[in-house]
């Protein structure tokens, strides 16, 4: 099966900045997410998830390694790979000058799409934002802003959707409707990479799960395999927090080899 996202030996080191020492955020990450997967990438805060996503999307430059999106290298086909991705960032931020409709029209234009009104209406309906079409983004509630971020990411019909903690601060009802929609999109062929701190979401939605810690892969398997004997939360705690406590440091953790998870 074709790889949707393939990374080999990915490293990211942030340069020292003022009083902060440099950080080695990713340390030789290898990952192969297949086309059509609903894939969970889990890890504690500061484990490198957002750095990884930002390297895929563009805001962060990698230090070393290879990244391919649907077979295209991001070093040689940066613009093409951006067309393939839709990204829902962790932070909520909008152009405060514009309405919901204007934001989505501009986003369509950036991706070379003219007259995208029909698709804009469809997405707004699916995400329950149709009535807010001509409202300024500043006037939206937190949950609506999250949904607008999803609408923005989907407006150009990407092949791969990246969701970086999309349900943080979102109420239960909205979360359910959002996941229903995401599931439907996945069934229609959209590859989805999800990072979340709600482990039960990953457990329910994702066919495979990877756990990263201190910039390294510490587990990768079918979600059903990972949760055969324990809950995903137990596995997560064992591989991250307990391994830290065991070694007494957050940087020299000896990871459980992902290769031990047979179906990785």
């Amino acid at each position: 099966m074709q790889s949707a996202i393939k990374v080999e030996n990915l490293h990211k080191t942030y340069a020292p900045n003022g009083g902060n020492k440099g950080t080695h955020a990713l340390r030789g990450l290898d990952l192969d997410i297949k086309k059509g997967e609903f894939f969970a990438l889990l890890g504690p805060n500061g484990s490198g998830k957002t750095t990884f996503i930002n390297i895929l999307a563009g805001p962060t430059l990698k230090s070393k390694g290879k990244v391919e999106i649907l077979g295209s290298d991001i070093d040689t086909h940066r613009v093409k790979t951006k067309f393939l991705l839709g990204v829902v960032p962790q932070e909520i931020s909008f152009d405060s000058f514009f309405t919901v409709n204007e934001i989505l029209e501009l986003q369509s234009g950036y991706y070379g799409i003219r007259n995208n009104g029909k698709h804009i209406d469809e997405i707004l309906s699916k995400l329950g934002l149709k009535e807010k079409k001509f409202t300024n983004s500043r006037a939206l509630s937190g949950g609506m802003k999250r949904r607008l971020l999803i609408a923005k990411a989907l407006i150009h019909k990407p092949e791969v959707l990246i969701l970086d903690e999309p349900t943080a601060g979102v109420d239960v009802e909205l979360r359910r409707s959002m996941w229903k929609y995401m599931k439907q999109l996945n069934e229609e062929g959209l590859t989805i990479l999800l990072t979340t701190h709600y482990l039960e979401e990953a457990e329910q939605l994702c066919s495979r799960t990877a756990i990263i810690h201190n910039g390294k892969l510490v587990a990768l398997d079918k979600t059903s395999e990972l949760t055969k004997e324990k809950t995903l939360e137990d596995v997560f705690v064992e591989l991250t927090y307990e391994s830290d406590t065991g070694s007494g440091t957050t940087t020299d953790t000896k990871p459980i080899s992902p290769n031990k998870r047979a179906n990785g």
């Binding site: 942030y14 951006k82 070379g112």
Partner: protein, 254 residues
Amino acid sequence: MANPLGTYTLFKRETKRFMKVYMQTIIAPVVSNLLYFAVFGLSLRKAIPSIEGVSYLAFLAPGLIVLGMVNNAFQNPSSSIIIMKFQGLIDDLMTIPLKRIELLIAFVGSAVLRAMLIGFMTYLTAIYFVDFSYASISIIILSTILISFFFSFLGLFVGIWANEFERIDFLQNFVMLPLIFLGGVFYPISDLPPLFLKISMFNPVVHMINLVRYGFTGISEVSLITSFAVLGSFTLVMGLATYIALRKGWKLQT
């Protein structure tokens, strides 16, 4: 993989942004220019009745046109980028599928449009005060375009460099404003003492105002070739520096 519609969309976004707050971006600069006309024009025209046969107001108007254009060309991209940084929208900008040259074209294109608009509106308001003569319309057009490009590049570069509004304010108040005011907007630089006159030759604004003023009045205090050479090379260098900064993702990508 060129993305002309994407480039145009970013240009449109930048243009809509300043048009949405037109009171602040279009009307206010024109009103301040009117005040300059009223205050400086009426008071100084008695002290300086005419310069080489040209009335003081006709001498002043090209300087004020340049003043408005410079400020607005600079402010459009610098404020847009710094606001994006504060609103967390820079990551968005780095995610959209545009090449760096396309980002440059969109930001600078919109800033040039705003500067030309301000220049034209200042000219229209000046018509009520001044009997313009037109020594060379082509020099007026060429020099105003170059001026707009230079300060648009500078504004974009400063926006990329600055982490806070204070840096932009510092540059505007402590570098640009002195250069503009010492650049001969309100007086002929040939009136300066010889030492200051020599120093002024290194001020690019002197050459900008000289060209536009020549275009309207036919008065040139510096050789036109020198002024075009200075303005052209400053614009080229600033354009290249801005492109390189964008290309490297300097202060934009982590």
